[in-house]
Symmetry: C2
Subunit: 232 residues, 2 copies
């Protein structure tokens, strides 16, 4: 399948690499695909172009381009940008190129401008997932994967126990397809809760403050939660 | 031990009953201890006075009174009011009667004024726990138990698997005492994460939207989460 990824950072490269390893055709994207990403104290990661060249050298079907190129290339599109710049990046990608497609939104609207831990740029009575759905009404936005870091996304078994993912979105068929294929088959997530329409994106985005505290308390970002419920 | 509970609703009565069953002296409280609580479609529950009389008839050491009476009676005080009225109730209880004491805050700042599911009256860069700590600087506020419903609070084993609770607060000794005695010994919670100072109340209060969606998806409020982390 052709997968377009909006973004070219750590999440885009790691998730894109996983999809490419599975045999998919992957296009990651950037405002400037030739520029390496300087993440300050976290180091420098390769440019989108360098990433794609390295994957192709390994035999993968990988490309890099503009946001528009990724949106056009993808039968399914993934928003892997930082939440604070997601709407701008998706607008550059172009509503017409996203129209009718599933957009997997795994971004969180983290606001680092007030120090650590980050707060959220939007929450409570709105969410990034809803803002994206409202801005792109002809796109099927499926909010998911935003409750784990990218290393857990692509390898849930590393946690040593089955844990849970969540999906939210207005299009039932789109959620079912993402759940069955992307989450279960491709990434190996056996347990997925459907939380409801796209307003449920509030729930998983507002879980970020707890996730960030758990990261501190557990001493690792390789963590997730398992929902335990009594039989109703 | 003498336990004062600010509030006389379902949470106060159920948790107070558990503490009384354990042999503690419990005072629940209300603006009007003689008035039964009409919770609309959820039915009517006994007044604070009726609750205390029924517990005493069973041989328990239970009383009902004003918020001030409960604050004076308690060596430890519990905030079991609805979050939207917690600050008003605690002010009526009186800062001088809460001074130097541990206040276990298990309220969530749910805002039902905009329909269901509720939003929060405060979140993101502040929290109810912080507002209470700021309003009562000589009280040791420990935020905990707000991530489960009261039936799970008093009987975590019903879930059939060990799940997690969280504590947040500025006073390390107070958190340790609550964790060891109230959570582990009295209520039976073996796993408790210390998330940090009282600003971490944001994390557990902002988990409420996810809890509410999980309640819908799981079909029961008898639920909780277990944190699963790889070894760091």
């Amino acid at each position: 399948m052709n997968i377009g990824i909006i973004g070219s950072g750590q999440v885009a490269q790691t998730l894109g690499g996983k999809f490419a390893d599975l045999g998919h055709s992957v296009t990651i994207s950037s405002r400037d695909p030739g520029r390496p990403k300087d993440r300050g104290e976290w180091g420098v990661i390769p440019s989108a172009d360098e990433w794609a060249a390295a994957r192709r050298a390994e035999g993968a079907d990988a490309a890099a381009g503009s946001f528009t190129a990724a949106a056009i290339a993808g039968d399914v599109v993934v928003n892997a940008t930082a939440g604070a710049s997601s709407l701008a990046a998706l607008r550059l990608a172009g509503a017409k190129h996203l129209s009718g497609k599933i957009l997997i939104d795994l971004a969180n609207p983290l606001d680092f401008s007030r120090g650590m831990p980050p707060s959220l740029t939007v929450c409570n009575t709105d969410s990034l997932g809803e803002q994206i759905q409202a801005a792109f009404p002809h796109t099927k936005v499926v909010k998911t994967l935003n409750t784990v870091n990218v290393n857990v996304m692509i390898d849930p078994a590393q946690l040593g126990a089955e844990t849970d993912l969540f999906v939210a979105g207005n299009d039932t068929d789109a959620k079912a397809w993402v759940t069955e294929h992307v989450l279960r088959e491709w990434l190996g997530w056996p347990r997925v809760f459907d939380l409801g329409d796209i307003t449920a994106a509030r729930a998983t985005e507002m879980y970020m403050p707890l996730w960030l505290r758990l990261w501190g308390a557990a001493g690792t970002g390789a963590l997730n939660i398992k929902v335990v419920a009594a039989q109703p």
